[in-house]
């Protein structure tokens, strides 16, 4: 059992390198996925997660002992970790998978993070995006909390940490409003858009980030197997929208409607 007395927080922030949201995605010709030869950046929800970790530290100062970012991905994912470090994480872990390996699935990711938590027993708060904008699965946080047996607060739009009492108050976005819940640490939080607006990475911090430590691991080192369990059968574009037309007069409009088979009731 974990100690329940007042403690220093150790925060883990899992981040994912994803196709940038501003990129217009295109399905590849084999219809097995999308063209990945495009700009990638940190999944926007994860950026919010990093920002929140840094803001928690700004609020409760020394009570946050460490902020660690972790990513599971190919070598290029290191860029994403550097961004997290430039935003204010202290150190990072890169669980490297080969460039050619299929993208890890939510369960694989959750198991990897669980293994990391079991290795670094001091971690008591995990903040991650509610979903990644590439696969939109929206499962990792929940699976992780389940695997760890921790409390979970999903779709957070406000986070208030009280280290004296080991409780975190979270405002959650729910259908038609919001819900406030109190959670005991250790805790998994998933972020929603409204939680905060991530900062720019300042030059001095980018320079500092280059010198911050990044631990490299392989899935095998953690005893996890990332072989996909799902099979993608086909990826296709949504049907193209047909453009509208302009009419010159009411008569023309009525005529067109009639042609299209609409009749007055």
């Amino acid at each position: 059992m974990r100690p329940t007395s007042a403690r220093f927080l150790n925060i883990l922030v899992p981040v994912k390198r994803a196709v940038d949201y501003a990129v217009k995605i295109r399905v590849n010709s084999q219809q097995t996925g999308v063209d990945l030869n495009v700009k990638h950046s940190m999944n926007p929800f994860d950026e919010i997660a990093v920002e929140e970790a840094v803001r928690i530290r700004e609020r409760i100062k020394d009570e946050v002992k460490s902020i660690r970012a972790v990513t599971i991905g190919p070598s290029k994912s290191l860029d994403t970790l550097r961004t997290a470090l430039a935003m204010g994480a202290d150190s990072a872990i890169h669980v490297e998978v080969p460039e050619s390996a299929p993208a890890p699935e939510p369960l694989g990711v959750a198991k990897t993070i669980r293994a990391l938590v079991e290795k670094n027993k001091e971690i008591d708060l995990i903040i991650l995006g509610k979903q990644a904008i590439d696969d939109d699965a929206g499962q990792t946080g929940q699976m992780l909390a389940g695997l760890l047996g921790w409390s979970q607060a999903t779709f957070a739009s406000k986070v208030d940490v009280d280290t004296k009492n080991n409780v975190v108050t979270v405002l959650r976005e729910i259908d038609g409003g919001s819900e406030e819940i109190k959670c005991k640490l250790p805790l998994v939080i998933t972020t929603d858009l409204r939680l905060n607006e991530p900062r720019y990475a300042s030059l001095p911090n980018i320079m500092k980030a280059k010198k911050k430590p990044v631990e490299k691991l392989k899935p095998e080192d953690l005893g996890v197997d990332l072989t996909p369990m799902l099979e993608t059968i086909k990826v296709a574009e949504p049907p193209k929208r047909v453009g509208g037309g302009k009419v010159e007069s009411v008569e023309e409009l009525v005529g067109k409607l009639k042609d299209a088979g609409f009749t007055a009731v």
Binding site: D20, Y21, A22, V23, K24, K39, S41, M42, P44, E47, T83, A86, E197, R199, Y200, A201, S202, L203, P204, I206, M207, K246, E248, S249
Partner: protein, 507 residues
Amino acid sequence: MLSLALRTSRTALNAYRSRGIHAPASLNAVTETDLAHFASILAPSSVISSLAPVNSPTDELDPFNQDWMGRFKGNANTVLKPKTVQEVSQIVKWCNERRIGIVPQGGNTGLVGGSVPIGNELVLSLANMNKVRSFDPVAGILVADAGCILQALTDYVAPLDHVMPLDLGAKGSCQIGGNVATNAGGLRLLRYGSLHGSVLGLEVVLPDGTILDQLTTLRKDNTGYDLKQLFIGAEGTLGIITAVSILTPPAPQATSNVILALPHFDNVLPLFQTVKRDLSEILSAFEFLDRTAYDLAVKHGQGKALDESEVEGAQCFVLVETSGGRREHDEEKLNDLLEKLLEADEPLINTGVVSQNPSQFESIWGLREGVTEAISKEGKAYKYDISVPVATFKDCVDATRDHLESKGLMRPDAVKYVVGYGHCGDGNLHLNVCAAAYTQEIADALEPFIYELVQKHRGSVSAEHGIGAMKTHALHYSKDAVSIGLMKQIKGIFDPNGIMNPGKVLE
């Protein structure tokens, strides 16, 4: 008849009237007979008029009569929005015969009062001519109707891996025809040069209605006088541009930007030299904004602000953009530069931020592009768009502020701010005076003071916005009598009856 809206802006108008700017008396207003003729050649949706039988309400005409700054207000009773070059030609031919003045209008974002009537000229809007005619993805040559909105063209060529050679804050409203007519510079000039280079051909309706078809798609064509050049920057005084053939560069594979906070204006020039040398071919913009411009942009929500600690002690800011062919290469170059800047013994910069993703990239650009809009939200802007040596940017702003101070005009109910920003890479300063209202007293304090200042630095009184109705009286500060004489002769050849955008560019 004066409309109510016109009456409220009379003080502003009078300031210009008093300079003697008005449409020539020899021109006629649009009558019901003319309207009947236009109605016979155009679709009903192409005609807006307060005359019978159309009887459009004034608020439908207002947007075409009022300029973007809210400084100039015309009194057109009719706006025509033709859909084809033949329609344009027929309208112009009629107007020429009937001596009706015409104001060609694009997106009406011009900043010198060129796009609205001075009196009751007809407004010919290109808004309905908005189709792409062709695009050659190998040569990158785009042929488009003049009324295509710049943003729409940017979006059109983007998936085909090209970019428009120009970009400016007004891109969501301005039209390619208007851009060509004003020879707009904008944010990419440093990289892709001016429209005099990238425009390959034009289709123009001349003031007698003749269609001049120079819509070629040739990179090279040395067969006599290059007539199209005359229409680029003519601000609609020589004819109506109906289509443009333009060279679009391949889209850069990677772009990035940074905004740097400088302790001193004096550091801008050495910084520009360093940045040019170190980034060389990937440098695509070097934009300047002073502290006041930055603060106003932030105040009016034009892009996410930097952290307080980062802007502390900054006298001005510089935005640097890179575009290149390979992300890793470009990032390495940029990072090396930034590291060098930050670690220098006597750093030229305090600090800065680097965009990490496209939304931050947009946000950083927003701080610079949003200045124009922020100033217009803050008050009434006197805009001076001047070319002067970069080293004198700050002197020009300070001298203007001091001058206004000495006249007792720097006070909240008169001049609120004197702001400097612009395209440092092109030596183009936007000197803006933001006032509570347009008054004769402020106008008199600013002119000819600023024009003389520009002349002293051997600069240009209009770097990129043009002359319009606003600066006709100041043309002589940058063009000698011989040049102005030739310009008048050219105008006479194309437009002997003076119907095309009367009162603009030339007095």
